[in-house]
Amino acid sequence: MEELTSQDIASLARSVNMNIPDNDLDQVAMSLNAILQLMSEITVTDVNLVEPLPIRHIKEDGIYE
């Protein structure tokens, strides 16, 4: 995956109405690139079929299937 540059970060920040000082752009770029690169490496074949339900309701008897 191609790395986002500091310029990319500045543009993205503007799009969400956030000002990132010039001397912080490299830091934010490294932090964000790390997340995006690792997330892009996850290639689970059936991920598109998964419902991203964050909370599974808990049954009274505690049985999970």
Binding site: E3, I9, L12, A13, V16, N17, M18, N19, I20, D24, Q27, V28, M30, S31, L32, N33, A34, I35, L36, Q37, L38, M39, E41, I42, V44, V47, V50, E51, P52, L53, P54, I55, R56, I58, E60, G62, Y64
Partner: protein, 475 residues
């Protein structure tokens, strides 16, 4: 017994002496306050010490016990809680300059429950700013590890780890989103339990990620951990996601018997190439697995293929959720954050929606794979972290892209069970000699949802058949 020896008692032993009236809660609180005065400047574990209030509560506890109104095993026992947990009339800062004047009107449910159990609040403990998991971001300066004050006590409940290991409270509470109870327990040689999500109320605890946050004990022994979780767990009408499943008597269920227990050793976390586990940690965990066999358990190797990705997944979810709680702060008060918090929040604010959505999907797969493992074993074991506590580097900033990725991958050790929402406990499983210091290594034990009892009993059997708990930090 000299008063200066009192803080070295376990919470359970202290409670027993108080119950039998062989020790006064006033003497216990006084001993802890004296030690806090002497030692806290080295450890920086406390943000606020509630000396007068604690002494007043101790006098009341003494009176109640003498009048035959004994409540239970925490009655008169001095405790402390992370500064993320609301305390009526007492500063609750989240270790942030932004919250440095926040005085809650009411207690969090967990603190209210501790109070009802008779525990006495000594004070509020240091932490990573907004619980983001950074060792130096506290507006009050970093807490220090009693095993080596140049090292990180573990994040984000830094003060809970430092104070408990430094004998500055009998037991403590931390909050665990991606590992913030288990990390400090690991770095400080303690017992820390992240309960099942929904076992303990989150009401009145400043959130990091609503669907993953849990509150739990960081204690010196398994019995202390059991008595502490027993006092805070249960349904709370103020937190609609707390379960109605009855809370067992965790202490009475500690029998140390593992006959018939089936343990899965998660081999993915022993892979030094993929996850960076250090040799001493790997050897200690493998030795622990062998030790469990001698205690009557069956140990099998098991793989959870998605394990290595869980650090990136949990960071994506929790940081996005955290910054979304107060989205304007990073725009209008960016410079009031610690530099590391600021960078983390700014990056989180730029995570694309599709990546967040993917992380939530992977989270479901993580839970599926973990629950699949629990069809064949009763508990899972693995290292709590890749190695012992690292040095505190006061220089802020992201060092490099590679380092940022390594930090994310390290989060997988604990993030996996956070994502699965199951109980997970960290316990000391040995020591590593590093630069002339003895540093704790840690074993993690995870269990089925709401089966904290089996997790605790597995840890208890291990603790009682080893001598690790008898080794104390010298600082």
């Amino acid at each position: 017994m000299n008063n200066s020896d009192i803080p070295f008692l376990s919470a359970t032993d202290l409670g027993t002496l108080i119950k039998s009236k062989d020790l006064s809660p006033v003497d216990a609180v006084t001993a802890y306050l004296d030690r806090i005065q002497d030692v806290n400047p080295k450890l920086n574990a406390y943000i606020t010490v509630c000396g007068e209030m604690a002494l007043a509560q101790a006098k009341q506890a003494e009176k109640d016990i003498n009048n035959g109104n004994y409540i239970g095993p925490l009655h008169g026992v001095p405790v402390a809680v992370k500064d993320q947990i609301h305390s009526a009339g007492i500063l609750t800062s989240d270790a942030s300059k932004i919250r440095s004047d926040f005085i809650p009107q009411e207690n969090a449910t967990v603190l209210e429950n501790l109070t009802k159990a008779g525990a006495i609040l000594l004070g509020k403990l240091n932490m990573s700013e907004f619980a983001l998991g950074d060792p130096i971001s506290s507006a009050y300066g970093p807490a220090r590890n009693p095993w080596d004050i140049e090292r990180n006590p573990g994040t984000s409940s830094t003060g809970s780890g430092a104070a408990t290991a430094g004998f500055l409270c009998a037991t403590s509470l931390g909050e665990d989103t991606g590992g913030s109870i288990r990390g400090p327990a690991a770095n400080c040689g303690l017992v820390g339990l992240r309960p099942t999500w929904g076992r303990v109320s989150r009401y009145g605890v400043d959130g990091a990620c609503w669907s993953i946050d849990t509150i739990g004990p960081i204690s010196r022994t398994v019995s202390d951990c059991a008595v502490t979780i027993g006092s805070i767990a249960g349904h709370d009408p103020k937190d609609r996601y707390t379960s109605n499943i009855p809370v067992p008597d965790y202490v009475n269920l500690l029998n140390g018997t593992l006959d018939g227990l089936k343990i899965g050793l998660v081999t993915d976390f022993l892979d030094s190439d993929e996850l960076g586990v250090t040799t001493p940690t790997k050897e200690a965990v493998v030795a622990a697995a062998a030790h469990f066999r001698t205690l009557g358990a069956e140990v099998v190797e098991i793989s959870i293929p998605i394990a290595k990705y869980t650090g990136a997944v949990i960071r994506t979810i929790t940081h996005t959720d955290r910054v979304s709680l107060f989205p304007d702060r990073i725009r209008t008060r960016a410079s009031d954050h610690h530099q590391n918090t600021k960078i983390a929040f700014m990056a989180a604010n730029l995570i694309p929606a599709q990546v967040y959505y993917k992380a939530q999907k992977i989270r479901d797969l993580v839970r599926t794979q973990v629950m699949e493992a629990f069809k064949s074993v009763d508990v899972l074991i693995q290292p709590t972290s890749s190695g012992p506590a690292g040095r505190i580097n006061l220089e802020p900033g992201v060092r490099s892209l590679d380092q940022a990725k390594k930090d994310l991958i390290e989060g997988s050790f604990r993030g996996i069970y956070s994502l699965a929402g199951v109980p997970a406990l960290s316990i000391c499983c040995g020591f590593s000699d590093v630069d002339g210091k003895k540093l704790p290594l840690a074993l993690q034990i995870a269990g089925r949802p709401f089966d904290e009892a089996t997790v605790l009993n597995t840890a208890y059997a291990y603790e009682q058949s080893n001598t690790w708990k008898d080794i104390q930090p010298d600082f």
